[in-house]
């Protein structure tokens, strides 16, 4: 793979994570447990779409096939998506949605801290903008996870069930392949595995406050960020998300 191609893959991974998670979060719109949460979730989704525009916009530029961020979002099929499996999982209950958000935010907060020093100016600039949003997100999702984990017996049980369900999808964030190595060598992005300690420290602190137990198994699902094997959920998500662009191609909206 050429360097440009590796860079493209890296950018798609960032952009697709933000895009797919924003879709999931936006599914809550009008259905959340408290009006304040409707607002907060919409806010998260909005920030993520903004990040999507930046990452996929740059990806389209690097790809140099005359495509736009919208083309990449709305006209690729599941196998071309490079998001981690975690973000495409169904929302489940509110607790699972917020716990997933926290796990993602925690990773992003560590990653963006590194990417602001990227050798690629555009990557650094995107990370600088995103990192402010991410700092806010992680604070908020951590608070909610602690509140629900250390709340009632029912809320605790639901949050533990959510953690048990989600934990096997965390490891994928720290897997490496040729693209990651190429990014590391070029100084564009760190090797994913180098983020693990900082991530674990943060997550362990919050989950301890939340009185939750990190599951013991070391198994990790993977296949999303390489595109090798997504879950069955992604295809259904895309059928909804891409409907208008697929049914009425070539229009301006």
């Amino acid at each position: 793979m050429t360097d440009q191609n590796h860079l493209l893959q890296f950018l798609l991974r960032q952009g697709d994570n933000a895009l797919i998670l924003s879709h999931r979060v936006s599914e809550w719109c009008g259905h959340s447990p408290i009006l304040e949460e409707d607002i907060a979730l919409a806010n998260t989704a909005l920030d993520l779409i903004g990040q999507t525009q930046m990452w996929l916009g740059y990806a389209a530029e690097v790809q140099a096939e005359g495509k736009s961020a919208d083309d990449l979002a709305f006209l690729r099929d599941a196998w071309d998506f490079r998001n981690i499996l975690l973000v495409e999982l169904p929302n489940g209950d509110f607790g699972r949605t917020l716990l997933r958000q926290f796990l993602f935010d925690a990773h992003q907060s560590v990653l963006m801290g590194r990417l602001i020093k990227s050798s690629d100016d555009t990557v650094a600039a995107i990370a600088a903008k995103a990192s402010k949003e991410v700092a806010y997100h992680v604070e908020r999702s951590a608070d909610t996870v602690v509140g629900l984990g250390d709340g009632t017996a029912e809320s605790h049980e639901r949050m533990q069930a959510a953690l048990d369900y989600l934990w096997p999808y965390v490891g994928e964030m720290f897997t490496s392949d040729d693209t990651d190595t190429a990014m590391a060598i070029a100084g564009i992005a760190p090797e994913p595995s180098t983020l693990r300690d900082e991530f674990h420290a943060l997550v362990t602190r919050v989950l301890t406050d939340a009185t939750l137990t990190i599951p013991g198994g070391r198994f990790s699902h993977k296949g999303g960020r390489t595109g090798e094997m997504h879950t069955e959920h992604l295809g259904h998500l895309l059928a909804t998300m891409q409907w208008l662009q697929r049914a009425y191609p070539g229009c301006e909206w």
Binding site: D38, D70, F74, F94, L148, S155, Y248
Partner: protein, 311 residues
């Protein structure tokens, strides 16, 4: 009584009534009902537009729509707060809504069936709401009036965005133009019914006018909305959704056909196309979220107790 006279004098002098001021029970009750219904409308109003968030055709359109729906939730918050200044809690108002004892605007019982509906809701529904709300900026109750000022600003922005979305559709491909026309046809009459029945049929109006809870009559507001909207339809190059729409030079207003009021009354009675779905969605959100509210509350109590013990 003296209190009543003083109260009415203030209103007549355009001095706002504030939460700690004395007010007649009926004034309080009427306001709670009106503000509560308005708050509920903002909350339920998330649903028809929310229906298209996951299908918005571009990233930018998705952001605009999400931000708009977010604003509506925010308006709900301001308005519930305004109702709280009158001594009615948000939880109680929500309970009344879920038990079917309070209403929300019937317009949200119509479905959003194609993407142009999203533009049309912003343009027509928010457009009609603004006409009403601009008038209400002068309402006599301070917190309500100030909420209206804030809300109006955002709503005007939404109405403009909605109109821009409609322009894209009306000036787009034949299929897009067809969507725009279809949306206009379906939403036109419901939007002009948003102002309520004709003045001759409207109850409570007189007292509300005197108290400046209501500032203009239903028919005045409706005419104002129609007059400002018809030229916009013409600019879009869409067919008028009502053959009765004609400029009346003598009146200096557009004439229009009487809407089918029996349809409105059906919708108010619970028989609109989406009443059941809307209420089911809201009640489900509330019930499914009970454990979340309970959990967060329990945590807050524990935390306070720990801090107290540590002091």
């Amino acid at each position: 009584s003296d209190q009543e006279r003083a109260f009415q004098d203030k209103i007549d002098a355009d001095i706002k009534i504030e939460p700690r001021d004395w007010m007649p029970d009926d004034y309080r009750r009427t306001l709670i009902r009106q503000i509560g219904q308005h708050a509920h409308s903002e909350v339920v109003g998330q649903l028809p537009e929310g229906n298209w968030i996951t299908r918005a055709p571009t990233l930018e359109r998705k952001m605009i729509l999400l931000a708009k729906v977010q604003d509506e939730a925010g308006h709900g918050l301001y308005l519930y707060s305004a109702a709280e200044t009158l001594g009615e809690s948000r939880d109680e108002l929500v309970r009344l809504l879920h038990e079917g004892r309070m209403k929300y605007s019937s317009i949200f019982n119509y479905p959003t069936l194609n993407w142009a509906d999203i533009g049309a809701v912003g343009w027509l529904v928010d457009g009609a709401a603004i006409v009403n709300q601009v008038a209400l900026q002068r309402t006599s109750y301070g917190p309500y009036s100030r909420a209206m000022v804030r809300i109006c600003k955002e709503e005007s922005f939404h109405a403009r965005q909605g109109y821009h979305a409609m322009m894209k559709m009306a000036f787009g491909s034949p299929a897009q133009k067809k969507m725009a026309q279809d949306a206009l046809n379906r939403l036109w009459f419901p939007s002009i019914m948003m102002f309520g029945p004709s003045d001759s049929e409207s109850t409570h109006s007189e007292q509300s006018m005197a108290w400046k809870i209501k500032v203009k009559s239903n028919d005045e507001l409706r005419q104002q909305y129609i007059d400002q909207t018809v030229p916009q339809i013409e600019y879009l190059g869409l067919d008028l959704p009502d053959p009765g729409l004609k400029w009346n030079a003598e009146r200096g207003h557009y004439d229009f056909s009487e809407p089918d009021w029996s349809e409105l009354f059906d919708v108010i009675k619970g028989n609109g196309p989406c009443n059941t779905d809307r209420m089911n969605a809201r009640v489900k959100a509330w019930d499914d979220g009970q454990w979340v509210r309970d959990g967060l509350m329990a945590h807050a109590r524990k935390k306070a107790a720990r801090q107290h013990a540590a002091e």
